[in-house]
């Protein structure tokens, strides 16, 4: 079950501020469409290139959360404690389990089984919230590709990671979300 093994706390491990932070993948999102507005009242000819830039950016994608890594085979990335192997989806100053301060990126297995779920029926539309055990790393997610009724979801069911488009923003950036679908 638990991926980690107890190990003595590392004392005074070298401070690596960088290790505490999830690699910055945010740059893409921060860039809004045309960075610098050209002074107003320019000719239409001047505006055209700006639009082109926006169009070019529309090819950009941004993950819904920074621990979702996009690409040909999208995956979830955890920060793994180098000392004890405990995994975290957000940055930690020190490991909650062993207090170690060195972390590395770890690829979470994309296949898993549902160890718990609830069908949330308040709100705009029902959805299945689930906890999936991905080879020893627990992931919180929404199940997709499945009817949100008790007949269609079961404890222990096999699921796998999938991604989907959440639409484009005003700058043409497409957000990609993740969920787990029946395997």
């Amino acid at each position: 079950m638990a991926a980690k093994k107890k190990a003595p706390a590392k004392k005074a491990a070298a401070k690596k501020a960088a290790a505490n932070k999830a690699p910055a993948k945010k740059a893409a999102a921060k860039k809004k469409a045309p960075a610098k507005k050209a002074p107003a009242k320019k000719t239409a000819a001047k505006k055209a290139p700006a639009k082109k830039v926006a169009a070019k950016k529309s090819a950009k994608q941004i993950p819904f959360v920074d621990y979702l890594v996009l690409g040909d085979r999208p995956y979830l990335r955890a920060q793994e404690c180098k000392n004890c192997g405990a995994r975290f989806f957000d940055r930690r100053n020190a490991c909650a389990s062993c207090f170690g301060t060195d972390f590395k990126n770890a690829r979470v297995k994309s296949a898993g089984i549902v160890t718990s779920y609830s069908i949330v029926t308040v709100g705009p539309q029902p959805f299945v919230s689930a906890i999936v055990d991905c080879g020893g790393t627990s992931v919180r997610c929404t199940l997709v590709g499945v009817e949100p009724t008790p007949d269609h979801v079961s404890l222990g069911m096999k699921v796998k990671l999938t991604t989907y488009s959440m639409g484009k923003d005003a700058a043409g950036v497409e957000a990609i979300g993740f969920g787990f679908a029946p395997a």
């Binding site: 079950m1 638990a2 991926a3 980690k4 999830a22 993948k25 945010k26 999102a29 809004k32 941004i62 993950p63 819904f64 959360v65 920074d66 621990y67 405990a86 975290f88 989806f89 957000d90 940055r91 909650a96 389990s97 549902v114 160890t115 718990s116 779920y117 609830s118 069908i119 949330v120 029926t121 308040v122 709100g123 705009p124 539309q125 959805f127 919230s129 689930a130 906890i131 055990d133 020893g136 790393t137 627990s138 992931v139 919180r140 997610c141 929404t142 008790p150 404890l155 222990g156 959440m166 923003d169 005003a170 700058a171 950036v173 957000a175 979300g177 993740f178 969920g179």
Partner: protein
């Protein structure tokens, strides 16, 4: 050397429910003054106050309370610890007495929640027109519904379902039956917010909130306050025979947080810290679960009650479903659980809850529980859990005097 025992000298809770004409301070004052009267002492003797109101954690509720019932210049500790806020306030009072800083402590918990909606993760404000990562996960939008759920009925539904995955034996019907029990129990409790008995069918066919929790299987948001006066053993010895007889011994008082577990970052682990707290409490009190005559545990949702049968070691590990099916936790069973009606029916004014459940146990040990009295109760346990997490467990014993 004097005994280090701490005693509950006075205790009170307001009726839980809707109190539209009383504000937070009115409710807190009502409970605090009634607890003082029950103890037979005045504010002049109180040396410390621990006070909590979660939704008003920055309001200085303790000082506001003093201005209503007596400003004597004593220290006030305003505390917040999610649903364990009340138990935390009590722990503060107990620790101060135990440390010898004072002989008399007061703890008060109060909340006004009537009409509050779903508690838990709030959605983000209006979506901006660009995807902007924010928060610790760099999420570009609200995670609710996209990365599971953060609403309490859903989180605790998953807590119960996880138990089912691990040990089997759970079902929608089983969870609903737990709720049926608590709603039946509250019909005998005039202080409960709801005193309506539901049939199993009614519970299962009510509005589904987060499967498998329907509306009656969720704790009731309501208003209420609870207050308690604790004293040292030395102080108790100076008091009247009547007060000594009336006092209830706090045989164990424990507060824990959740130690690291693999999955705790994605689903709060309410099990390990509860089990740890129970173990410590049994050790402190020098008793075992078999000695308990009644238990008030934190049934914020029907799905939560089940796992705590196991966590508090009322049954063998993995045996919570069988334990329930045996009838043990009904008021006429071998281990009555939540005879007050629990949070599902008595109600859950957050700040008050952690004191109110101890109050309930104390009343039974004193023989003051009225129609719902568990006959001959000598030892009881009260459990509370605040998500995040904090767990309070108290074991009380009837006065020997």
């Amino acid at each position: 050397m004097a005994s280090e025992d701490i005693w509950i000298l006075g205790s009170n809770m307001t009726k839980f429910g809707k109190h539209p004409d009383e504000d937070l301070v009115d409710l807190a004052s009502e409970a605090a003054m009634a607890a003082l009267a029950d103890a037979g002492i005045s504010m002049a003797e109180v040396g410390i106050m621990g006070v909590g109101s979660l939704m008003n954690a920055s309001a200085g509720i303790g000082q506001q309370l003093q201005k209503q019932i007596g400003q004597t210049g004593i220290p006030v500790y305003n505390v917040a610890n999610a649903c364990a806020t009340g138990a935390t306030a009590l722990r503060v009072a107990i620790m101060a007495v135990k440390a010898g800083e004072t002989d008399v402590g007061m703890a008060v918990g109060v909340e006004k929640l009537a009409g509050a909606g779903l508690l838990g993760q709030a959605g983000r404000g209006a979506a901006s027109d660009t995807w902007e990562p924010s928060g610790r996960f760099g999420a570009v939008g609200s995670t609710e519904g996209r990365i599971g759920t953060g609403i309490m009925p859903g989180v605790f539904a998953q807590v119960g379902m996880e138990y089912g995955h691990k040990y089997g034996g759970t079902s929608f019907e089983l969870f609903a039956k737990i709720s049926e029990k608590n709603h039946a129990h509250s019909t005998l409790n005039p202080l409960a917010a709801y005193q309506k008995r539901f049939t199993l069918d009614e519970i299962m066919n009510d509005v589904m909130i987060a499967y498998p929790n329907t509306r009656p299987m969720c704790s009731g948001n309501c208003d209420g306050a609870a207050a308690m006066i604790v004293v040292s053993d030395a102080k108790l010895k100076t008091l009247s025979k009547r007060q000594q007889k009336h006092a209830v011994k706090i045989s164990a008082s424990v507060l824990t947080t959740d130690p690291y577990q693999e999955a705790c970052q994605v689903l709060p682990d309410v099990n390990t810290l509860t089990r740890n707290a129970a173990k410590q409490a049994y050790e402190q009190a020098g008793i075992g679960p078999e000695d308990l005559d009644l238990v008030e545990l934190h049934d914020c949702f029907a799905t939560a009650e089940l796992v705590h049968y196991d966590n508090l070691m009322l049954c063998e590990e993995g045996g919570a479903a069988d334990f329930f099916e045996s009838g043990a936790p009904w008021r006429d069973g071998s281990m009555p659980v939540n005879v007050s009606g629990g949070l599902q029916s008595k109600g859950h004014p957050i700040g008050a809850t952690g004191i109110a459940n101890i109050h309930e146990v104390a009343m039974h040990l004193r023989g003051d529980a009225g129609d719902r009295q568990i006959k001959g109760a000598k030892v009881g346990m009260a459990h509370v859990i605040g998500l995040g997490s904090a767990c309070g467990v108290h074991i009380l014993e009837k006065s020997a005097a």
